[in-house]
């Protein structure tokens, strides 16, 4: 024992010396340059993925990896979020009212286990995600399909009641609940991704949550890359899939995803030349990075809304005037300039900017005088008698800073006292969904580029409403939008619905997200995208 300890210690010293020498002699060639020459992307990816099964995961880091490994019917366009690019489907068409869609699958799409990608694989996959016993959190994305909701709710066990039909090996027909012209864009989301039935059946079957098909040994995909290695908390590596139908377009030879949770560590790694891309940037460093490396710091719009939920079942927040007073009495511009500093846009409405064809609402503007007046009308002149209330946040320095700014501005403008209390993430989620809060810090990122992904949240009975607010007129407008025959009528109904939301204000819009990250100057084909999806097959380095 002692001997081996001494040995390992001498070895350590030797290695330390050698390591130092080698590093000193190698002249500091950066890992990023070496990797770029080999066509390998080094990608800071936030956290360790919880899994790689597209039907069971919900997070952004998981999405980054899965979208390199699996391809859905429709793929992401390299520059425009609204254009559906051909994926496994080489063509698609709908009937006149966009309720029945037919997808023609390409002949050369194959799985990494050699199976051709067939229409039946999609039917199998969608049945899998909708099976209640699998417990998929993203299954409601598929409710757009006829009968999907009642199948998922367990009302029937007969999947033929759901509007998915493989007409033949290469033709898939999907019948929807209502007219949905943007259905192809929804299909880009990983909840619609296929899984290989043979692989799933071999490792526990369709409904096994702990099925081992998506581990590194067993993974079967059909995307531009295939899974090469997965070292927990270190690195996931994918390499070029030469059998991919569009391998000619793919330029990278591989991607290494590094799960780095600590933004400072990630930044240090980037600066020491070990990453081409980071997932984020430490908030405090944004101003200094803006000065020192403006060509590498990226600040891009992101389709997300940061807001406070208001518990409308509690006094005094049951009074719309109180909610309106709160909503207009903090200076969003000041908040994004001085506190968040990441180029966020002050939110004057709930649906964020960046959705073509949808006019951003400008209804909620900073107006402290109006705030005072409304609060007085609600029975609290100059804040007198306003009960002490609290902002619930999940534990995070960033959320706390914002809450403190809100607290100070409400005190100054309305003379009311609002406290802040933080809870751990899981506890906070429980408090929010059981309406055990006054005001609760919230955020929502769009799943697809359409206002529906934001506005359907606040319909009565929506599981994510979490405010206690219901409005029959609002519900009617949302379902009117769902059934609208034209996109114009749909957008109009949604704008009217948002108007109601912003009049009643069960939510206080604060800002619209941006994505702030570092990007190596050699990287090309990585364009700003509001959903932060960058199809990897178009990404390359200037050197190769």
């Amino acid at each position: 024992m002692a001997n081996s300890k001494i040995q390992s210690f001498t070895r350590f010293l030797l290695v330390a010396l050698l390591g130092g020498l080698i590093a000193a002699c190698s002249g500091g060639e950066r890992e990023t340059d070496r990797a770029a020459a080999e066509g390998i992307l080094l990608f800071g990816n936030g956290t360790e993925p919880k899994g790689l099964d597209p039907h069971l995961v919900t997070g952004v880091p998981e999405n980054h990896i899965i979208s390199s490994l699996i391809e859905g019917l429709i793929a992401y366009h390299p520059t425009d979020d609204l254009i559906p690019a051909p994926g496994v489907a080489e063509s698609w068409e709908s009937n006149d009212d966009y309720t029945v869609w037919t997808f023609k699958l390409r002949d050369d799409a194959v799985w990494t286990n050699g199976d051709p990608v067939a229409a039946g694989d999609f039917a199998y996959s969608w049945q899998r995600i909708l099976t209640p016993i699998l417990g998929s959190e993203y299954a409601p994305m598929l409710y757009v399909i006829k009968g999907a909701q009642s199948f998922h709710a367990g009302d029937t066990e007969d999947f033929s009641t759901v509007g998915v039909r493989a007409i033949d090996e290469k033709t898939l027909e999907v019948t929807l609940e209502g007219p949905t012209p943007y259905f192809p864009n929804m299909l880009k989301h990983y909840s619609f991704f296929p899984v290989n039935p043979r692989a799933v059946e071999e490792h526990g079957g369709m409904t096994d949550r702990q099925s081992g098909w998506s581990t590194v040994e067993n993974f079967v995909g059909n995307g531009p890359f295939k899974l090469k290695s997965w070292v927990t908390n270190q690195m996931i590596e994918v390499e070029r899939n030469t059998d991919y139908w569009d391998n000619e377009t793919t330029k990278l030879n591989g991607i290494r995803f590094f799960p780095i949770e600590n933004p400072s560590t990630e930044e240090t790694m980037y600066r020491s030349g070990r990453l081409h891309l980071t997932s984020t940037v430490p908030q405090d460093k944004i101003p200094s990075l803006q000065e020192s490396v403006p060509d590498q710091l990226r600040i891009e719009p992101y389709l997300g809304s940061y807001f406070y939920r208001v518990n409308v079942t509690r006094a005094p927040f049951d009074n719309p005037k109180v909610r309106q007073a709160l909503a207009v009495s903090f200076d969003k511009q000041l908040l994004v300039d001085k506190v968040t500093k990441g180029g966020q846009a002050p939110a004057t409405g709930f649906v964020p900017a960046g959705i073509p064809g949808y006019d951003v609402s400008t209804k909620v503007q900073y107006d402290p005088e109006l705030g005072k007046k409304l609060l007085a009308e609600a029975g609290f002149p100059n804040g007198e008698g306003f009960p002490t209330s609290e902002i619930l946040i999940n534990t995070s320095e960033g959320h706390r800073k914002i809450a403190e700014a809100m607290q100070a501005m409400w005190k100054e403008n309305l003379n009311i006292d609002v406290g802040i209390y933080n809870q751990e993430w899981k506890v906070y989620l429980d408090s929010q969904s059981s309406l055990d809060y006054d005001l609760s810090r919230s955020g929502w990122i769009g799943d697809y580029v359409h206002p529906t992904t934001f506005l359907e949240l606040f319909t009565s009975g929506n599981g994510n409403n979490d405010t206690g607010w219901t409005n029959p007129q609002y519900d009617a407008l949302i379902s009117q939008a769902q059934l609208a025959q034209t996109e114009e009528a749909r957008i109009n109904a949604l704008q009217d619905a948002e108007e109601i939301l912003l009049t009643d204000l069960p939510v206080l819009p604060i800002y619209w997200y941006t994505r702030v990250y570092m990007k190596d100057t050699q990287l090309r084909g990585w364009e700003p995208k509001v959903l932060d999806n960058h199809p990897y097959k178009y990404v390359y380095f200037e050197t190769n």
Binding site: G20, R209, R274, N462
Partner: protein, 305 residues
């Protein structure tokens, strides 16, 4: 001695059982659940997931099942990470933590103990003042300051060492140094104190009067006793290095246990929390037992009782 070891082992098992029970019920009583999600899950779906992991049973029944599994060495699946059992996670990350811990501890002893001896022998000279002041600074500087500082100097400015990751020996140096330096400081101060106590004993004066060489006095007569405080500190040091490595693991992206421990708690990944708690507790129990044995071996005034 056998009787002593057997007795202590039995005690250890009781301690572990108690820790297991307390952890289990504390975790069960904590609000939040591993299945809470930002996206609402329909109640009937949630019920399916809960049933899958056995959460639909009464707490006491769950405790008995979980204890039974734990006794057979199986802590169950992670409730958050797909396809991974707690045993897998431990098997993957424990060797990393052990390596990091061993390297840091060796570094700490290799630096701290000689520095302490020299400081005691050359008391009140610069050989005493300089290392002891450095040790004071080392004790006061937390790892979350030391780590980024070392990364900045050796990684970014000098470009000598990688700043994060665990891909090979050159990656081990900065985290082991960060963790080791703090403990080196403790070892230095403890050894100095222990040695000084020995050097001031009457029999040392007698030995000197008899003309015994100074080196013999230090090496043969004082060292054994002088190291006692440092040896006693080994147990807590190892526990501290393993449980306190979370910060270092985060700064340097080391895939060890510490990260899982914190993540397990944040995710409310009950099985993982239990598994890791039991592991840490076992380590501490074993380390304390070993330290006791070594202490008796070094100190003839102690007996196995």
């Amino acid at each position: 001695m056998l009787k002593f070891v057997a007795g202590r082992l039995l005690q250890g098992i009781l301690v572990l059982l108690a820790i297991y029970a307390v952890t289990f019920f504390l975790v069960a009583a904590t609000p939040g659940s591993p299945f809470s999600s930002e996206r609402a899950i329909r109640p009937e779906i949630l019920a399916q997931i809960e049933a899958f992991y056995g959460y639909d049973k009464p707490v006491f029944e769950r405790f008995m099942t979980s204890l039974g599994n734990a006794l057979s060495g199986e802590f169950g699946p992670s409730a958050v990470y797909a396809n991974r059992s707690v045993t897998d996670i431990i098997a993957e990350s424990f060797p990393v933590s052990l390596k990091l811990g061993a390297l840091s501890l060796l570094l700490a002893m290799a630096l701290g103990i000689p520095a302490g001896i020299i400081a005691a022998v050359k008391r009140n000279t610069w050989l005493d003042y300089v290392p002891m002041s450095a040790a004071m600074v080392g004790i006061c500087l937390p790892t979350f300051v030391m780590g980024p500082m070392l990364a900045l100097v050796f990684g970014i400015i000098l470009k000598l060492l990688p700043v994060a990751g665990w891909f090979g020996p050159e990656f081990w140096i900065l985290p082991a140094a960060t963790l080791g330096l703090v403990y080196a400081a403790y070892f230095a101060r403890l050894t100095r104190g222990g040695m000084l106590e020995m050097l001031n004993q009457d029999w040392v004066r007698t030995a000197r009067a008899k003309g015994v060489k100074e080196t013999t006095i230090i090496w043969r007569h004082c060292l054994k006793g002088g190291l006692m405080p440092a040896v006693t500190f080994l147990g807590p040091a190892l526990a501290g290095i393993i449980s306190g490595s979370f910060v270092v693991e985060t700064i340097f992206q080391v895939p060890g246990l510490g990260q899982w421990f914190v993540r397990g708690a944040l995710n409310r990944d009950d099985f993982l929390i239990l598994g890791l708690t039991v592991l840490f507790a076992t380590l501490i129990v074993i380390m304390n037992l070993l330290v006791d044995i070594v202490q008796v071996a070094l100190n003839p005034r102690l007996k196995y009782e």
